[in-house]
């Protein structure tokens, strides 16, 4: 021990030990925190997976051709189980000239066109043979050909549909590489009430917020 170096006092030794102790505890706490990473879990809340029904590509209605293809029950289309041949069912109207849909057909809600103008069943159904349609030029069409029936009135939309522009296409854009499938009118439109009904939208995006705030409430003013 040289004479110039002073031996530290007991007080400064205590202080050194105290500082070292605090640093040790601090380091240990830091190590524990980093290994456990308690905030990792809290900042990454689970976002529920979207309902698979929103991923489905199937059309929401089935056409007659679809039912035939699936060999489904076609008893709804056997009109002459109830109706008589060569005796077309009469149509009844109320005072406002609104068609009265009989109880046997209560699943049909009439809503084709505005102002109740298109309320004659035989505009489309064939009076003389209920198993076919009657097109506007007087010819008969099978149930499978319903899209042509629609086209006899809705010309521009039919033209677009034939070009693949009205309604959805599935399959291949490049027809040399694969097949494409065009939906029929009745796959999307109910012929008795063709306006497409409203539906529940898929969930909105969950914004990247840390921590995640509660879901934004829909603005009352914009939804009315």
């Amino acid at each position: 021990m040289s004479s110039t170096q002073k031996r530290p006092s007991a007080q400064s030794l205590r202080r050194t030990n105290w500082v070292l102790g605090v640093i040790t505890v601090g380091f240990l706490a830091l190590a524990a925190a980093l290994l456990a990473s308690p905030w990792k879990a809290s900042t990454q809340p689970k976002i529920p997976l979207v309902d698979p029904s929103f991923l489905e590509q199937t059309a929401w209605r089935k056409s007659y051709s679809d039912l035939v293809r699936e060999k489904a029950d076609l008893s709804d289309f056997q009109c002459y189980v109830c109706h008589e041949k060569k005796n077309p069912p009469p149509l009844r109207y109320d005072e406002q000239h609104v068609l009265i849909v009989p109880d046997e057909h209560s699943d049909i809600k009439m809503g084709h066109g505005t102002h109740n103008r298109n309320n004659l069943c035989y505009n489309c159904h064939n009076e003389n043979d209920l198993l076919t349609f009657s097109i506007r030029d007087g010819n008969e069409l099978k149930f499978e050909e319903s899209s042509r029936l629609c086209g006899s009135c809705h010309g521009p939309n039919y033209r677009d549909w034939e070009a693949g522009v009205h309604g959805r296409m599935n399959g291949y854009w490049n027809h040399q590489l694969g097949d494409f499938k065009r939906l029929d009118c009745v796959n999307c439109h109910n012929p008795h009430a063709p306006k497409i009904p409203t539906r529940k939208p898929a969930p909105p995006p969950h914004p990247l917020r840390l921590p995640l705030l509660p879901e934004p409430q829909p603005k009352a003013a914009t939804t009315s």
Binding site: D160, V165, N170, F180, L183, P201, L208
Partner: protein
């Protein structure tokens, strides 16, 4: 052992422990980075042999991570095809099915959510994006007095995102698709800032994809799983469209508002629309980006 030595050694031990703990995030590095990947060449300079090796590496990585052997391809643009997208604003009902079909097809992160399509709700009679709301969630859509405008990558002829990339990790291919090489991207996010359509998304964290929702049909420039710190965006479903199929967002649209095809083919749906339909909007056309994405209204 004296008290001093005990304190010294315990402090040293704790210090080493803390050092090891602070380096622990490096353990996760092994999940998405390897020497092969680090030494990988630039996409345009790779030979077919190089690409075959890269594809095997990606397939192995995906299998290790998700337990599913994917089918990864490097699909090149078709000759005589340039893609255009048309979207009918009269038909769109804002149901967001396209958003989720896209997420499912393209293996985007579910947590946090990354979505390429953002559906804007706008009041009738306005195209003012400032009035748009993309977080709408009513009981049913469409709502009266509003129309819906889905916005995704517009695949511009003159893409600002490509111009700003400092490492050429994103470029426009000859079929019009602007692609990203996720292995070349440095994550600077310049392209995100440059894009006027908010079409580019950044992986702030490691993407989370549930195994049961992983799409094993993958392509190198398309929907292979991304890693943390890279950009991604809509690529017109390269893994589908470059083999002739329609994109996923189109195939799920319940009203047929989305139309996709080859503009060089006069018989395609998009050629028909651009010829026959009346009103077109290229979003923010004053930017001079000249999108390949057209919005139109029915007569």
């Amino acid at each position: 052992m004296g008290r001093r030595n005990f304190l010294r050694s315990s402090a040293a031990f704790a210090g080493l422990g803390a050092l090891a703990a602070s380096l622990s995030p490096l353990r996760e590095l092994g999940d998405y980075s390897s020497v092969d990947e680090f030494m990988q060449k630039y996409y345009k300079e790779m030979t077919p042999d190089d690409m075959a090796k890269v594809i095997t590496r990606i397939e192995n990585d995906v299998q290790r991570q998700y337990g599913i052997r994917p089918h990864v391809r490097d699909l090149k643009p078709m000759d005589g095809a340039e893609f255009v997208y048309c979207l009918n604003l009269t038909r769109c009902i804002g149901c967001r099915k396209c958003v989720h079909a896209c997420v499912n097809e393209n293996n985007q992160s579910r947590n946090p959510e990354i979505q390429y399509i953002r559906v804007l709700k706008l009041p009738h009679g306005s195209m003012d994006i400032d009035k748009a709301d993309h977080e709408y969630n009513p009981e049913s859509v469409p709502e009266k007095g509003f129309f819906y405008m889905p916005v995704q990558c517009q695949q511009c002829h003159n893409p600002p995102c490509v111009k700003v990339c400092p490492v050429h990790a994103t470029w426009q291919e000859k079929d019009g698709i602007t692609v990203i090489d996720y292995d070349w991207c440095i994550g600077c996010r310049y392209c995100e800032a440059a894009c006027p359509y908010w079409a580019r998304r950044f992986n702030f964290t490691k993407p989370e994809i549930p195994k049961e929702r992983l799409n094993p049909n993958m392509s190198y420039l398309g929907n292979r799983p991304r890693k943390q710190g890279v950009m991604e965006k809509c690529h017109f479903c390269i893994q589908r469209t470059r083999v002739g199929r329609y994109p996923a967002c189109l195939e799920v649209c319940p009203v047929g508002a989305r139309k996709f095809g080859n503009i060089l083919d006069p018989d395609s749906e998009v050629s028909y629309i651009l010829r026959e339909k009346r009103i077109f909007i290229q979003l923010k056309e004053e930017m001079g980006t000249n999108p390949r994405f057209f919005y139109y209204f029915e007569k």
